[in-house]
Amino acid sequence: MDTDVVVRAQRGDQTAFAQLATEGGRRMNALAVGILRDRDLAEDAVQQALLSIWKDLPQLRDPARYESWSYKLLVRACYAEARKRKRRMAEVFGVRSREPVAGDDIGGVVDRDQLERGFRRLSLDHRAVVVMHHYLDMPLENVASALGIPAGTARSRFHRAMASLRAALEADNRPPSPPPGAATNPEPQGAK
């Protein structure tokens, strides 16, 4: 992000702010979708975050830190949106499944389904760390700084979240348990 643009926006230049909002909008939206798992809520959060950015921008002491500072405001806005809308349509109507596209293999679809479920089970705190680290490629120290948490907490959240997602994938790889009462074969498969 060009710090000159940030400085101009700090001084009230609407054009510069529009440039910041437009250039950073998609990444912000991706982060918000990643945290909230809902595009409508995410856009609301982005809108609120952008307005907060505009209002608080003059108080940003180091324009070079604009990006991580803006993510901090965005994560706050995501939390606020989630609080406002604890009940979500997805809970009422179930999660919309992604339609398979050409070239999808069965394993890929299953993976997505498992990961989606696993990801939704994570708290917002954990989702934020995973998305910022994995998708925005931010080092965990920077993630911690942006979220205003100790670096150790960020590492802990990240590892816990990843362990949970790995477990979601592994659960799918386990063979299904036999139905109650089904006959079991005492011999290992392939034994003669």
């Binding site: 909008g25 998609r26 856009e43 982005v46 324009p63 109507f93 394993g107």
Partner: protein, 484 residues
């Protein structure tokens, strides 16, 4: 993909998911609109840095080669306030102090003007969609009791609802004349907006899509009532776009004689992504009366609204959260398109349902209560059809009295839940009463008759039926089972 390292798969999945996220065009556009009319929060340090030319980014990057023109706030370029600063940014101390004093005085004046008496810096009655106040087409009466503001493209004080709301004072009555009005408004005042004429001829709908904007990426709320005691009465509210048509957050508004049709064609849109007719949250004590709803309505967040004589035609009611406790009275639910229910209470909510009429589709429960601490009282209600007339599961409590359930797959189904059933009639269902799992059951003076199977009690279910009539034929009164 499935055979690779889990972390790689997780990373690939996340990138695939988030790479597909579109530009937040709506959010950016609205944020820019709002920013245009919202002052920035300038701290004293900001003005000091501006005054001294201490641009931190340039200092850190060592990029102070070129002189920087610093415009002192409030002074025009070229005046004594404009200084060309060199690398060191040196300013004589007396001049700096003088400039600082001037700057602080200006900041103080600006702050007073911005947040002076009677003004709000942020929030308040934000009216989305109106950039500048609209001028009335004809003079308004001075503010006072019983003032009326007419909205009519030809003869009104305003041609748009936005303009009228922006001009309205608490207590004003805004009269909407037949026509279609595009608006997305947040109301915090206690105004009355009332349609004059047939409600189907007076339509309020969201602002149109911008060029190139995709309907699926747009969230619009036609009315947001925040801590307001406003009245909306006698018109149609619809939305052909994503979002919730009416959002109520706190307050005690009145929603009377409305036709709320979120999609605009009497449907609720895609079953997997329905449009909500309304959300009542934030502890609101709203009243919804004599209205027609064609989609989902949600009550949550400690809201305690009252619904009276409402018709949910294809719509349904979703109630959630502890402290949420609506009363639904004399209301009709017909052919709910919500998957699984006409009325659902969950997650600790309470609800009182009195004298309602529910006509369910075969795959739905008329009334569904789930989760511990969820408590539903049903009184004097007729339920026809459906998979279950009433379904209680997972520790919920239902107290059903003077209610009739017929033509359902199961009249009342209780699974691991508590139920008190008194003076009810379960007839002409496939199964009258079905109980399984643990839970407290109290049944007194119910008439369970003419069902293909009157009772279906799982092993171990403790069902005291001594004081009930369990009969094969309701008309003849012949009893083949007496429940003893």
């Amino acid at each position: 993909m499935q055979q690779s390292d889990p972390d790689v798969r997780i990373d690939a999945w996340l990138r695939e998911q988030l790479d597909a996220v579109p530009e937040p065009a709506r959010a950016v556009a609205e944020a820019l609109d709002a920013a245009a009319s919202t002052p920035q929060r300038h701290g004293r340090l900001f003005w000091l840095r501006q005054l001294l030319g201490l641009d931190r980014s340039r200092i850190q990057r060592g990029d102070a080669e070129r002189p920087e023109v610093v415009l002192m706030p409030g002074l025009p370029a070229g005046s004594a306030g404009t200084r060309a600063l060199g690398r060191e940014g040196a300013i004589p101390l007396p001049l700096m102090l003088l400039a600082l004093a001037v700057a602080l005085a200006i900041v103080g004046a600006l702050a007073w003007m911005t947040v002076g008496p009677g003004r709000e810096l942020i929030g308040g009655s934000t009216r989305v969609g109106t950039v500048a106040p609209e001028q009335p087409l004809r003079p308004l009466d001075p503010p006072g009791p019983d003032r009326v503001i007419a909205v009519d493209p030809e003869n009104g004080h305003f041609a748009t609802l936005d303009g009228a709301i922006a001009a309205a004072e608490p207590g004003d009555r805004i009269e909407l004349y037949p026509g279609t009005y595009q608006a997305e408004v947040t109301i915090t005042d206690d105004v009355t907006i009332v349609g004059v004429g047939d409600r189907e001829d007076i339509i309020v709908e969201p602002l149109p899509l911008a060029e190139g904007e995709d309907v699926r990426d747009r969230v619009r709320r036609v009315f947001t009532l925040r801590d307001s005691d406003a009245t909306l009465q006698g018109f149609t509210v619809r939305s052909s776009l994503n979002g919730t048509t009416i959002v109520v957050d706190g307050g005690s508004p009145q929603l009377l004689d409305l036709y709320v049709d979120p999609v605009g064609d009497g449907t609720m849109g895609s079953p997997t992504s329905p449009r909500e007719a309304f959300e009542l949250g934030g502890g609101t004590t709203a009243t919804v009366r004599d209205s027609l709803i064609t989609s989902l309505g949600s009550v949550f967040g400690g809201a305690t609204p009252v619904f009276e004589r409402v018709t949910f035609d294809g719509g349904c009611l979703f109630i959630e959260d502890g402290g949420t406790d609506p009363i639904v009275r004399d209301t009709t639910f017909r052919d709910s398109r919500c998957p699984g229910f006409s009325i659902s209470a969950a997650k600790g909510a309470s609800a009182t349902l009195e004298a309602n009429h529910i006509y369910s589709r075969p795959d739905q429960a008329g009334i569904r209560a789930a989760n511990s601490s969820t408590s539903v009282a049903v009184r004097g209600t007729d339920i026809t059809g459906g998979r279950e007339g009433i379904l209680a599961t997972d520790g919920a409590e239902i107290d059903v009295m003077t209610t009739q359930v017929d033509e359902a797959q199961v009249g009342v189904r209780v699974i691991d839940a508590d139920a008190i059933l008194r003076l009810n009639r379960l007839e002409r269902n496939v199964t009258g009463l079905q109980v399984s799992g643990d839970g407290y059951l109290e049944t007194i003076s119910n008439d369970i008759c003419d069902n293909e199977l009157n009772l279906d009690l799982a092993d171990g279910a403790l069902v005291p039926l001594a004081q009930n009539a369990v009969r094969a034929d309701c008309r003849t009164g012949s009893a083949t089972e007496d429940g003893t």
